[in-house]
């Protein structure tokens, strides 16, 4: 079975006469290309990739922000404890 994932560019796999302007305006099929897949399914997969990647990154950002809030809470508690400790000798005197 041909490996469709990594296929080196070979002269036979490229349109030999297509210049850049030609490629811009015309569909240039690869000569000797592999088996074609269903276009609608490919489009759906591409949409899924878009949403999954973006949602995954937003999830990472949300977790990072939550960690930040926890560190902030810890710092506030530390400051409160230090303030109470500082206030105790003054009240006990």
């Amino acid at each position: 079975m041909r490996n469709l994932l990594l296929e080196p560019v070979t002269p036979s796999a490229q349109p030999e006469t297509a210049s850049p302007p030609d490629r811009a305006t015309a569909f240039q099929p690869v000569q000797g290309g592999g088996e074609h897949r269903n276009g609608a399914m490919l489009m759906v997969e591409a949409y899924v990739v878009l949403w999954v990647v973006l949602m995954a990154w937003l999830l990472l950002l949300w977790r990072r922000q939550r960690g930040l809030v926890q560190r902030l809470d810890d710092l506030e508690r530390t400051i409160d404890r230090a303030a109470e400790k500082a206030a105790r000798p003054a009240s006990g005197a």
């Binding site: 296929e7 609608a40 990647v53 922000q65």
Partner: protein, 201 residues
């Protein structure tokens, strides 16, 4: 080509968004090298993350489209190869920032990488016109493959939407980065003042 051509309307804007992220990384990195501030460092880091995220989208949606259009998922075409190289550069930036520590020296090293990484952007953009390959040149000053006005309208709207999206993501990520820097400094101050018994990292 059929319905698979619709991938064009988020594949191309995603590449444009990758350029925006890389440009933000360049601006932040250059600014940090000239005069280090937390905002510039955060902008560089945010730009690199956005470049990686949208670069991953481009390098995934493109081959899915190519499977139908060319019959192959991947070829070592100049545009594809230079795009992959660019994404790897910004992945290296993120790995460096994640595992290399957060000192001034590490930030400057990463900023230098952020400046140099931007040199690949014009190579990606002009690779199709200058070198032979499989990737089409669609968006050109002469119109390229956008023959129908509806295609131009749809692509234009997609560009506007992705621009607004990237700007919003940059803003949110920069705010997060600046907050992290301020919190780290506050924690260090708390340790220095003896308020916290934990040792400095």
């Amino acid at each position: 080509m059929g319905i698979v051509q619709k991938i064009f309307y988020f594949h191309v804007p995603s590449a444009y968004a990758m350029y925006l992220g890389a440009a933000a990384c360049f601006v932040g990195s250059l600014g940090y090298l000239l005069r280090p501030t937390d905002v510039r460092d955060a902008l560089a880091r945010a730009g690199a993350e956005i470049a990686v995220v949208f670069g991953a989208i481009v390098l995934t949606t493109g081959p899915l489209w190519a499977a139908k259009a060319w019959g192959y998922y991947w070829t070592w075409d100049p545009r594809l190869t230079t795009s992959l190289l660019s994404v790897l550069i910004y992945v290296a930036y993120m790995v460096l920032r994640a595992f290399g520590g957060d000192g001034t020296g590490e930030r400057r090293f990463a900023a230098a990488l952020g400046v140099l990484g931007a040199a690949n952007l014009p190579i990606i953009h002009f690779s199709v016109q200058k070198w032979s390959g499989q990737h089409p040149t669609v968006v050109t000053g002469r119109g390229g493959g956008l023959q129908h006005p509806d295609m131009k309208l749809a692509l234009g709207l997609a560009f506007v939407a992705f621009t607004c999206f990237v700007v919003a993501l940059l803003w949110a990520r920069v705010r997060l980065g600046v907050a992290e820097h301020r919190l780290a400094r506050a924690e260090e101050d708390a340790i220095d003042l003896g308020l916290d018994t934990r040792s400095e990292a």
